[in-house]
Symmetry: C2
Subunit: 401 residues, 2 copies
């Protein structure tokens, strides 16, 4: 992975050591070093073909991001399904796609009491009876969901209590379901570990990440929107994971002043969104930073045939190109055109290939960047006090009705 | 459809008449009044089972929005596929899902020379030979693509020259493929016509739309982000359509001052994004307006069983609710919690059901709102000069290599 910044600023290297010092308290730092043998031995013994993750938000988005990224280029040993909504239209459709006689249901909830997840569990148990063969649970130690599992002898994986939902993909939350379908979870952690070691040992990623975080915080008042323009459909769910990580971590009241601050994430896919959002970036208000993600080597590629279509001779310039060349030329053309404009802070991330290691790198890079920006803005990246009120109102509504 | 605004401002009713006067020049106004008999009679004679739209941006997003919205609640007579990318990973996968021996390819490009579309056409013709039985074309009158079609005797539908791509879904662009798979396109236009007549005759929608557009323009400097929080997966592709319409129409330089202005659209899906973006709305910088879309009657619903799970007794409050009640209570709880906060401009759109008429209403409502906001900001909603530079650089790159 390679990150090229088109902007610069003076960085305070003490920030890296601040993070390093508090690193015992913040759990996600250490996830790449975890022992995965328990996950792998459990995974090896799963007999079912259809694996169903029941979870919402941080309990599903990261796993889905990795599954979708890897899944465009290869097929897996088993099917993975996600039940992550209360929408009746889609819930019914999703359950119909599962082979209910050959399914392992993995219920994922940090608190163990997520309304959507327990509602879906109650619905699913009428199709897949609750017993230790059919279910597994991933939750915080001592949650109600853990007690529920214990009463049936259902296998429980705990997530570290000091790892928040949106930072949990490299814990049991992501690793257990991914190991079951055959993803190389050690390669995933190896990728993450590379970025971690580089950062905490003050190597390459340290300067890049500190520069980017410092700059984003410095200009956050004028540039309150951060666009991630990813040049492959493989990143579609990664973008959604990024939106949660960034938005929910960085939309906060400042610790002392209680000022509302926040950076708004926007996930875009190229070249599709060149025909949608790009006009707004180029000619709209100068309130957006742009990060372009590219894939260096698509491997499995297809070519544009060398043929001439009547009246369309002008487009013979396309002939003979691989589609992977075309999409990367489109990315480069966009990068050049943005580079030539003033006041659009730009950087480019190039990942080598579509594999476990590269997505592990990218995930850890973004987790660190998020943590650093939060430090610079003097906010807590790891809580989400703003969503509690809605939950309380919902429970009142349910009791009343 | 019902729209409730939680903010108000003084409106200038002359704006409605300004739009009304120029209404001969701007094509999308009149699309709901078009005669659809040509589309319907063509559709009736299509024998193929797999219909493939080859197009990108405005040539695909609106059609996909309607197809996805209606498709969660019903099944269609035929399959609809979209080839809307140059991504080699997904292009290959998409083509594999088509029954190539039983496919009608509809090539959609306003200019007739869209790079992605012609690249995909060249790729597809090696699987589905070009002839008048296998292909149809939707394009501007006299485009190169029309000439290409003429040389094979391929059926051509023109889009009105004064209708831009992102405003074209209610023209042949959307109506032809949708009619073929069995969508009631007259009901779609009827929904749109209801909003149109209400607006141009100065009835209910006129005041709502003018108030909303005026307010958005007045506060656009501080509130540069507009969130559309849609409470059903049915709206996922509608959100993507909205993002293009809003971003590409409203990200411009002002006519006289050349100041860069623009409003940034964000599409969210409830309840999923309550676990993602909501924290940013509630506690983050006060730079976002929020529109919530709800479905009043989901019809086809499923219930949460009335059972108690050991250790999870607290969540028995869910028991017996329909999932459609739960999702709407979640939406209402979020609306109440946002209503109680200061400085978050909020409105709620409630559509009656999932059907052709309601999506027609919603589409026309958003097209009018976009046109009005552009008037207020003194920008041209209908061009996209900012994306030309990237296209020129791309063509240079292709010639050089």
């Amino acid at each position: 992975m390679n990150n090229r910044l088109f902007f610069s600023t003076k960085i305070n290297e003490e920030f890296a050591s601040v993070l390093s010092k508090e690193s015992e308290e913040i759990g996600f730092y250490h996830l790449p070093d975890a022992d995965t043998s328990e996950y792998k031995s459990y995974a090896k013994n799963v007999k079912q073909k259809d694996i169903v993750v029941v979870g919402i938000g941080g309990s599903a988005l990261g796993t889905l991001a990795i599954y979708h990224f890897l899944g465009l280029g290869q097929s897996f040993e088993k099917n993975l399904h996600f039940i992550d909504t209360t929408d009746p239209l889609v819930l019914k459709q999703k359950v119909e796609q599962i082979d209910l006689d050959d399914a392992l249901i993995i219920v994922v909830s940090k608190s163990g009491a997520t309304v959507e997840t327990i509602a879906a569990l109650k619905y699913l148990q009428s199709f897949v009876p609750i017993c230790k063969e059919n279910y597994a649970v991933i939750t915080d130690p001592s949650s109600d969901l853990e007690k529920f599992a214990a009463s049936y002898g259902i296998k429980v994986f705990n997530m570290p209590a000091n790892v928040g939902g949106r930072f949990s993909v490299l814990s049991a939350v992501g690793l257990v379901p991914l190991a079951i379908i055959g993803v190389d979870i050690d390669a995933l952690l190896e990728g993450a570990r590379g970025v971690k070691d580089s950062f905490f040992n003050n190597h390459g990623y340290c300067e890049k990440l500190l520069t980017k975080a410092t700059y984003y915080a410095q200009v956050s008042n004028a540039y309150n929107i951060n666009c991630l323009f990813s040049y492959s459909e493989a990143f579609r769910e990664f973008n959604a994971w990024y939106v949660q990580l960034w938005g929910e971590s960085l939309g906060k009241q400042q610790r002392n002043s209680q000022l509302h601050v926040g950076l708004t994430p926007v996930g875009l896919i190229g070249p599709t969104d060149q025909h949608s959002f790009l006009q707004l970036i180029v000619d709209g208000k100068r309130d957006k930073t742009v990060t372009v993600i590219k894939i260096k080597d698509f491997e499995n590629s297809i070519k544009i045939p060398d043929i001439t279509l009547p009246a369309l001779e002008k487009l013979d310039i396309l002939n003979g190109y691989g589609f992977e060349e075309l999409i990367n030329m489109q990315a480069d053309a966009m990068i050049e055109s943005l580079e030539s404009l003033e006041f659009i802070p730009l950087d480019v991330i190039e990942v080598d290939k579509v594999n476990e290691q590269t997505i592990g790198e990218l995930i850890y890079y973004y987790e660190l960047l998020t943590a650093l920006v939060a430090q610079m803005l003097d906010i807590n990246a790891y809580d989400q006090p703003g969503v509690e009120m809605g939950k309380i109102i919902l429970k009142e509504k349910m009791r009343k009705k």
